[in-house]
Amino acid sequence: MRPTDLFRISCIQVLRQYRKNIGVALTIILGTAGLIVVLTMGRSIEESICTDLELIGNATRITILFKQLPTTRYPVDKREFKQETIDGLKTIPGIDQVGVIAVRNGYVKVMYQNNISSFQMIAVDDLFWKVHNSSAQSGVLFDQEDLKQHSAVCVLGQRTAQELFGDLDVAGQFISVNNSIFQIVGVLDSISMSDKDRHIFLPITTAQDRISSVSPVNKIYIRCHSWDDVEHVIASIPVVVNSFQPNDEIEIFLPEEILARVKAIALGVKIFVQLALLATLLLGGIGIWNIMMMSVRSRTREIGLKKAIGAEDHDIFFQFLTESLVLSISATLMGFFLGWGGVTITASIIQNVPPKDLFWLSVVIGFSFSLILGIVAGLAPAIKASRMEVVNALRYE
């Protein structure tokens, strides 16, 4: 049989027998759509959950600080991380962000109109926000330009803003911190640093200029790209620090228990998504195989007749296989559009737009699966049909 005849006949048969094929077509359409949605959104949801878990738990955040000194011997701790050390840490593979802070022991006096309160102050750089994945609940967080310009700006913790201003919008207001005037640019969100909601944050450069007794940079926060990088980064830190300053005084902290828990939850999510996918694939495959086998049985006389007029075994084999492929591929095309709609709707419901790459990857996987499904599901029925004896087929009622 010529390939063009094979394709034409298969398309005609699939189209004209649409009533018989509607069941299997629906199975494939829904299976493919489900596959695309589960693959795209499943991974997207999984990534989103893992990222949220990791950020909430700060599982990939490493803290480097100096060991505590006996206060009687060293009333003022002057130890600091050199800029070269900080720059050196940034070169370790697997590190995403490095932020630094300086602190002032005790409280600062903050005044707004006649309202005077005492709060703790932290001087930070702009990368500090990124390491903690912080965002502004209102206004903005000061940035690199503010640090460069030594701008007299500040960010308030939520309780700080509440105590000073009540429900007023604080962005743009001016306050006095230890008798220096600062403009409030924003209020910090409540999630990223819930333990620092009664703090006031100043740019490290400005604080060192204007506020007395601010320490040098004595704490470094590191955010790793992923969990897998943590172990390697921790091992590299003492070596890098030692290149620029003595490393025997530093301590490294990692929330190991949180990391372990987050990993366990993420594994659970992954297993759930994978099981859902496996179930979708199995159901689709079994459905097609079953319906193709039934089709061979119901077309037994047709097979006998075709062999009686001269069809060879391979003609019958390829016709059944091609019909299976035409059916599965055309249904997959429809499933693709349904899946597209499904992804769009799901994305809008859960407010999480998956990356386009992930969607197209799912489409490629969906089509590959459909092709394999068409071949695998059509193979056994096609072999059965091609090996049928003419007499048995012609006598079949």
């Binding site: 005609i12 004209r16 007029i309 001269g310 069809a311 060879e312 075994d313």
Partner: protein
């Protein structure tokens, strides 16, 4: 057999036997049949149900292998053909018409007749003319693009004849071709067979119960208890 007879002989069965073993017991369906069919000859095979008529027809079409015997077709032993060669033989030398005039479902009259050409890998450009020609022989050109499901029994049988004819076979094997038709349609079908046989040199082997059909054939063979009388 004279040289002329030998040259004119299309089918020559010698000592053809077909038997089955069921539960260790041997059942003979056709014991040592001898039979010849000449080119353009119309042969009727008659006999009661279960006498082995259809089995003989299936052996002639190479759908069944005989247990013993020799089958010469146009002077060549064709029992040695492998599965692929048998299919080729059926495509090129045999046309087959069944009692129930089975049509390919969901296909038009044209497509039904086109199938043998497709399996014979004929050029698509040659097909319309050949299909038109055979449909003209059975007076069905006006129904060419109708769905075969909507045809009457007689029309379906004419389509089956056209389908059997389209590859210009040397012989048409028909299994009760008029079994489900009324007298008028049976008469018409037999006229088509006769016309085809005389104009194209095609032999006919027709299995039938109907004496009216048999009397229109050149030779009538009776099978009784597996014996050809």
């Amino acid at each position: 057999m004279s040289k002329q007879q030998r040259e004119n002989t299309l089918i020559d069965l010698k000592g053809m036997t077909k038997s089955y073993t069921v539960n260790g017991q041997l059942f003979s369906v056709l014991p040592k049949i001898n039979m010849t069919v000449s080119k353009s000859e119309m042969v009727a095979i008659m006999g009661p149900s279960g006498s082995g008529k259809s089995t003989l027809l299936f052996i002639l079409g190479l759908f069944l292998s005989p247990t013993e015997g020799e089958y010469l077709f146009d002077g060549k032993n064709i029992l040695t053909l492998n599965r692929g060669q048998q299919a080729q033989f059926r495509r090129e030398r045999i046309g087959f018409v069944l009692q129930s005039a089975d049509m390919f479902q969901h296909s038009t009259v044209y497509e039904n007749v086109e199938y043998p050409l497709i399996y014979a890998r004929s050029r698509p450009s040659e097909r319309p003319e050949r299909i038109h020609q055979v449909l003209q022989q059975v007076n069905l050109t006006n129904r060419m693009h109708h769905s075969s499901n909507k045809l009457s029994g007689g029309e379906k049988q004419r389509v089956a004849i056209a389908r059997a004819m389209v590859n210009h076979p040397a012989v048409i094997l028909a299994d009760e071709p008029t079994g489900q038709l009324d007298a008028d349609n049976s008469q018409q079908i037999m006229e088509y067979f006769r016309s085809i046989s005389s104009t194209t040199d095609t032999a006919m082997v027709i299995v039938t119960h109907d004496p009216n059909v048999a009397e229109k054939c050149d030779t009538v063979l009776q099978i009784c208890n597996g014996q050809l009388l």
